[in-house]
């Protein structure tokens, strides 16, 4: 089956490739491509006015599927091995989107990679917040989409850890108006404490009619949840 290849890559695709052939290199590359696309999609949807629940659920299900496939298949090479923790932290964040909670969902902080050869516009990137005690993941990648997979420092992370170094002084001022709301789904107001930093651009250029995600991901809004 034909598929749109990430830019900057050349691979030969056999048209008789069996889609269920786990050992085929194209299967893995499609998995990785889909993972990256799904992560990006998830982030984009957070910038919409109110993310469509149907869309969030479908993306989450796709991510779970990829995650399941990846964990079932033994990795062929180092390129493919990825910590499932990355995906589960994304899924956990996605789940809180799906939550009827009125707050915008927490986002995994992402930074644009310097000189990354983008497999497609607006690729997923990792934010460097001076995370302590972990390996530097700034190794330049030939394929930017691999970045998420290769960074081992996310392996032991929880979402809380990711926010340790964020300056919350600005947010604390705003807490009176935004935090501690009664929420849907049986969450008591005290359980969910949200930090909110206004996005760089108040209006997302993302439009349902644009064909490709735009590069507004370069300015991620950081919204976190401290469970």
């Amino acid at each position: 089956m034909t598929m749109m290849m990430p830019r900057g890559q050349k691979r030969k695709l056999s048209t008789e490739e069996d889609a269920s052939d786990y050992r085929a290199p194209t299967w893995e590359s499609q998995q990785q491509f889909l993972l990256t696309v799904s992560l990006n999609k998830y982030q984009c949807s957070q910038q919409l006015r109110e993310p469509s629940l149907r869309r969030s659920v479908l993306i989450a299900n796709t991510l779970r599927q990829i995650s399941l496939q990846m964990s079932m298949v033994p990795s062929v090479n180092a390129e493919v091995s990825q910590p499932p923790a990355v995906i589960s932290s994304i899924l956990a964040a996605l789940d809180s989107t799906i939550d009827g909670n009125p707050q915008p969902a927490p986002r995994i902080p992402l930074r644009p990679l310097e000189n990354m050869s983008k497999p497609y516009e607006g690729s997923v990137a990792l934010v460097n917040h001076g995370l302590r005690d972990h390996g530097d993941c700034r190794e330049q990648q030939e394929d930017g989409s691999m970045e998420v997979m290769r960074s081992s420092y996310l392996g032991d992370f929880t979402v809380e850890d990711l926010f340790q170094d964020i300056d919350t002084s600005l947010v604390d001022m705003d807490m009176g108006g935004i935090g501690h709301r009664s929420t849907e789904g049986g969450h008591s107001a005290g359980d969910d404490l949200f930090m909110y930093l206004p996005p760089f651009s108040p209006h997302s250029p993302f439009s349902p009619h644009s064909l490709t995600p735009t590069s507004q991901n370069a300015h991620p809004a950081l919204i976190g949840q401290l469970a």
Binding site: M4, A19, K41, L58, A92, I98, N101, G185, T212
Partner: protein, 434 residues
Amino acid sequence: SNSVRSDSHQFVFSADIISTVEFNYSGELLATGDKGGRVVIFQHEQESKNRPHLRGEYNVYSTFQSHEPEFDYLKSLEIEEKINKIRWLPQQNAAHFLLSTNDKTIKLWKISERDKRAEGYNLKDEDGRLRDPFRITSLRVPVLMPMDLMVEASPRRIFANAHTYHINSISVNSDHETYLSADDLRINLWHLEITDRSFNIVDIKPANMEELTEVITAAECHPHQCNVFVYSSSKGTIRLCDMRAAALCDRHSKFFEEPEDPSSRSFFSEIISSISDVKFSHSGRYMMTRDYLSVKVWDLNMENRPVETYQVHEYLRSKLCSLYENDCIFDKFECCWNGSDSAIMTGSYNNFFRMFDRNTRRDITLEASRESSKPRATLKPRKVSTGGKRKKDEISVDSLDFNKKILHTAWHPKDNVIAVAATNNLYIFQDKIN
């Protein structure tokens, strides 16, 4: 026949993206809703006596602002004014009634005509100014005088605050007294007269939202059995429920699902199986579902597979990865039956729409474009070349414009008249009479 010849093709340009299209029960009126919260109603003009073989055109009958953008202060989110659905009520008197809904609020609108006005008041002038009472020397009875037709739309009921999630469907019950509204996780039953409460009849919200893997995508009341309704899901299933069985219809009476073809399984199998529309046939014996690549006709008596499957644009199956990336895979196409249930219609990309004849099994692809809306134009069948050599007049898959999507179409309940919404253009195609 292979072509649709028509004497009356209409093309209407709207300022905003059209988000719903619906004929009323007689087909005399055609309502459109748009992204800006406006409703425009077209009326079929009487055939001209001079040219009785031609159908009359649809002219603008009424325009009104149905919904305004709102701000939900609790969630700090804007509520879109976009009209998701319009459904007409059966006509019971001179006035027309319709329900229109955005993501959160349903409104009942009354559209009535006024073609007379009272003249000859005693206490005021014709221009409304009060007359000096001392100048009044005689009494007269005001008389009704004809005036230019005025069509007024007034909101009669507002059904609000009953949906946490986005409303995707409304459907008027055959009892003409109740209707249902469905959002991603819940379906409510309303009485048309009562706005301050509704009955929740389906709730699929899990206790733990992390367990949510499926949402409601569409719902419809059975056209004749007022206790029966169906709802479809993002996993490609349809549940038929009987309201007599229980107050809360979480348990279905029938469950429709086609077993998956293992040979075509991919990462996108679930997404493309998500049903975007479900419509009962006029007869009430069948229902039709639209998923991303196909339209399926189900016999209500057979739950394990559809009786008919029509491929809308199978050539997209090899492009699913790209369509996932550019979000087109999430597009929600609608589908509709013709009046006799012998044909079905649905939209596609590149302003193409497809019609399938259930009896002859023939299908046709047409394009809603300015060219086709010229008077006496014959709608030329279109073809997408799927591989190998591209024939003349065919269009290749890679040349398709995925921004030009036809999501909303409607078929006149009796005649061969169709309305096709192409972004912010409305096309009305009519067949010659006999």
